[in-house]
């Protein structure tokens, strides 16, 4: 046999050249307009300090059918959770005999823009709060009701409803408040940390290989602007910390608990990475 055995150095040079791999499967060039009316920002200039020039919504990486489901709110299965969330908003619960509406009135006005600015610094708790934590705060302190357990159906519906009041508005968080900057830094470290038996970081998949197919999945930048997201594969709403935990589990690592400091820091950092994209809740993904 006349196979040549290349010198290792030469082989590595060759590999570096090939590491670019086969033609990248780019995200589509398409516009997301909900119900033919509301034009969404799915591409925008990346925030200062981002590794990307442009941040892209996960919607651009999905199939035509999935994209169409999100663009039509009658077909979007996530809208059922918005409806359920509206019911909960008006439901009295807890010893204080109050509903969300008792204090906040019409969500369409009082919650407009609110979901677009979470996570937010919470001075009393001395850490960033996402909507789930804020809602539980209201439930215990103001309604005298039980806090929701992570991923309780009502928690997902209510978060979906509140985020939906900001649909089309740019996702933007305030890193100057309190100690947000150090949480951002902690989140960044986490994003580049290699995890699990497969030894992968968030960045390995979402920064280095977005646009590629990992088996049937078209890797996106892993942005959070659509959460909670309706996932066709699970036929259910998926919360952000559920998604984080799923991605971490896929590296064969034990994921941190939902709302743990690790995942809150990650939420702060990843939200910043997608700053400027429109809130799409409820987004539809595969």
């Amino acid at each position: 046999m006349n196979k040549k055995k290349p010198v290792l150095a030469a082989a590595i040079g060759l590999m570096a050249a090939m590491a670019i791999g086969p033609a990248q499967s780019d995200p589509v060039d398409d516009k997301l307009v909900i119900d033919g009316e509301l034009e969404m920002v799915t591409r925008t200039k990346a925030p200062e300090g981002s590794p990307f020039e442009e941040v892209l919504s996960g919607w651009l990486y999905r199939t035509e059918e999935t994209r169409a489901l999100e663009a039509d709110s009658f077909q979007n299965p996530g809208m059922l959770y918005v409806e359920r969330g509206e019911e909960i908003w008006n439901e009295v619960d807890g010893a204080a005999g109050k509903s969300c509406a008792s204090c906040h009135g019409e969500a369409a006005s009082s919650m407009k823009g609110v979901g677009a600015h979470y996570p937010k610094w919470n001075a009393a708790a001395g850490k960033p709060y996402n909507l789930e934590l804020k809602i539980n705060d209201c439930r215990t302190a103001n309604m005298e009701a039980e806090p929701y357990k992570f991923d309780a159906a009502d928690q997902k519906a209510l978060v979906t409803y509140i985020k939906h009041q900001s649909i089309g508005m740019p996702m933007e968080i305030d890193l100057s408040a309190g100690d947000m900057q150090s949480w951002w830094e902690r989140g960044k470290e986490r994003y580049y940390l290699r995890m699990g038996q497969l030894n992968l970081a968030c960045a390995t998949c979402h920064e280095n290989y977005n646009g590629h197919y990992i088996r049937a999945d078209h890797l996106s930048q892993g942005n959070v602007n659509g959460f909670p997201t309706y996932r066709l594969k699970q036929a259910n709403m998926v919360s952000l910390h559920n998604r984080f935990r799923g991605c971490i589990r896929d590296t064969r690592a034990t994921p941190p608990k939902a709302f743990s400091d690790d995942l809150m820091a990650l939420e702060v950092y990843v939200t910043w990475r997608g700053g400027g994209l429109s809130i799409e809740t409820p987004a539809v993904r595969q």
Binding site: K3, A11, R194, T204, Y213, I214
Partner: protein, 151 residues
């Protein structure tokens, strides 16, 4: 133990040469020069390990036309058509054992026979390699059959 039946004569020759130099020494150090099991792998088994999502799951990232019967080949890594012409078997073994040694720390490709892994490894995988020595040899044997260059 040698189950490499039905291979081309050239490949069989190569395997004999490899088996001769083999040592029974599975270790985490890169002993990729020689077979991890002391014998030649089985390419038929290797083909299964390659496709199995719970084992190699190599198709998640690599396309190979030998498996065009399977849906969904990834395009994260290069297509493996003709890979046997690009690398000697011991290099293929080194890539599968711990790709980081070959491609650098930043590679996305997992090391399939190494304990140098990431943090917080889930309980069920602690202290475990992704593939057994036998599975690595089987995959390497399969890779050496990929002699058809892309198009």
């Amino acid at each position: 133990m040698i189950k490499a039946i039905g291979l081309g004569a050239a490949t069989a020759l190569l395997f004999t040469a490899m088996a001769g130099a083999a040592q029974m020494q599975p270790s985490d150090e890169l002993s990729a020069e020689t077979s991890l099991t002391g014998s030649v792998g089985d390419p038929v088994e290797g083909r299964k390990v390659f496709a199995d999502r719970k084992l190699g799951n190599c198709l998640a990232c690599h396309a190979v036309s030998d498996m065009s019967d399977q849906l969904f080949h990834g395009d994260v890594g290069p297509t493996l058509d003709g890979v046997a012409n690009r690398y000697a078997p011991e290099q293929l073994r080194a890539i599968v054992v711990n790709s980081k040694e070959m491609f650098g720390d930043q590679t996305i490709m997992p090391g399939f026979y190494t304990l140098k892994v990431g943090v917080d490894v889930a309980d069920e995988f602690q202290g475990e390699r992704i593939l057994t020595a036998q599975q690595v040899e089987d995959v390497v044997a399969y890779l050496t059959t990929l002699t058809k260059d892309p198009n």
